[in-house]
Amino acid sequence: MNGRSAGLAAGLMVGLVAAVFLIKLANKDGRFRTEYDERQTTIRGKAYRYAFYTELLAQAVIMCLLMGGAELFVEAYGLVFIGIMLGCVVLAGYCIWKDVYWGLNNSKKRYHVIFIASIALNVLPVVMSAKEGSLFNEEGRIGMPILNICALVLIGFIYAELLIKGIMDKYAEDKE
């Protein structure tokens, strides 16, 4: 394990701890566990299934690309991360469009703050890398900032879906 991968592992651990803390903070009752009703639980089960299939497919495609020695614009670890992100997009997207975007004990306001803060926290390293000229490595591929770029695209995409669905629901609610 070199210094860079050790740094990444440490970063992921810190991210995990921060995620636990944020989830507790985002729930109205201060509990780590988000509560869902019976319909939401069923839909989430389906969403996890589709996310799993997406992840499998993505990993198979990535494996083929790497084995075939394809010219890539990112490092191999970035490609794996893109696969994971695709699974997350399917999971979140399916839940959002099937009306399971808020748990029973979620605080919507706090989640909005977390989304915006997450976007800001991921924009910062990308902008810094671009300024320092370290966005691309010696081989001309996007290096470590690819993780932040992927996270940015993922969070931004999910947040946009959430906002659009929220507006659509508000309109439907008014009609009912």
Binding site: D37, E38, R39, D99, L104
Partner: protein, 65 residues
């Protein structure tokens, strides 16, 4: 098939979907899905809804032929 009986029983008590959902411990979207006929609730949720609206299972969930 839309559950108009549930919708009218809720409206008779002047309850919004959100209020009924809170009393039943489910999301507003779940109540909306039941009323629209998009979701078949479990017997436990049917009973909870009936208790809150003061109706029987037959009155709210039995489909007339």
């Amino acid at each position: 098939m839309k559950n108009l009986k549930l919708k009218s029983a809720r409206a008779a008590l002047d309850l919004s979907q959100e209020e009924l959902a809170q009393k039943c411990g489910v999301s507003r979207q779940t109540i909306s899905a039941i009323e629209k006929g998009d979701y078949n609730p479990t017997i436990n949720l049917c009973i909870a809804i009936c208790r809150i609206l003061g109706k029987t299972l037959d009155e709210l969930f039995w489909e007339d032929q």
